[in-house]
């Protein structure tokens, strides 16, 4: 059983070779921490995104391990060096079969 949600990636469409580009990602997810209780004292089970992976032409450039301490709708701003034109892929995986991915094209001149 898979779950997906809305993802948003903001990054430049083109860059000069060797430039550092900034990538901003936001993914829609409640990030239920597993530390909250309902009115009747029952623990709400944990349901979070565990991993984020960014690959640049199939080479890993950035990875994140998320824990319940991450805020809801995780947002991460990071950087990478524009080396060659190609595809950046962003992948999220988490509890309860959560998986989602999105790609962006980068033109390097």
């Amino acid at each position: 059983m898979g779950k997906t949600s809305r993802t948003l990636v903001t990054m430049p469409a083109s860059a000069k070779k060797g430039d550092i580009i900034e990538i901003r990602i936001i993914v829609q997810h409640d990030m239920e921490s597993g530390f909250r209780h309902t009115e009747t004292g029952q623990r709400v089970p944990r349901d979070i995104i565990r991993d984020f992976l960014c690959t640049y032409n199939d080479v890993e450039v950035f990875r994140v391990e998320l824990h319940p301490g991450m805020g809801a709708n995780p947002m991460i701003i990071f950087t990478t060096v524009a080396t060659e034109s190609g595809t950046l892929e962003f992948k999220w995986t988490g509890d309860d079969g959560y998986a989602s991915s999105t790609t962006s094209q980068l033109l390097v001149t």
């Binding site: 550092i20 909250r36 824990h67 301490g69 991450m70 701003i77 950087t79």
Partner: protein, 145 residues
Amino acid sequence: MNRRAFVFSAAVASGLPSFNALGEVADATQAVEKIVGNKNVSRGRVTLVIPPLVENGNLVTMKVSVESPMTKDDYVQAIHIVAEGNPLPNVVSFYLSSRSGRAVITTRIRLGDSQRVRAIAHMSDGSFWQGDASTLVTIAACAEV
């Protein structure tokens, strides 16, 4: 809410304050030990920016930056964020590479209480560096039902 449910939730509520100041720091120390092993953690090179006063602990913007040339031979491997006052001190770990260009990351985290948050950077030469920031939290995350 029936009586049994009330007794149970009261027990849960009374269990919460058991995260006393000493316990928190011990938990965080353990979490840090898990990350660095028996290596020495030096102070400096890492800058962690968190607002000194946070109204709502559910969404706290933090920015971490590490001084590093970020070349093939000298770069930041990983940055770990540890919150001493959270029920689970590990918050998030970033794994970078020489292709990151800059070791600067912004994200949003949860804070369970007023506390000191630490950022530990793991360099490519195997050394560890630490920076920290303290903050006051008015409304804590995980407090609401």
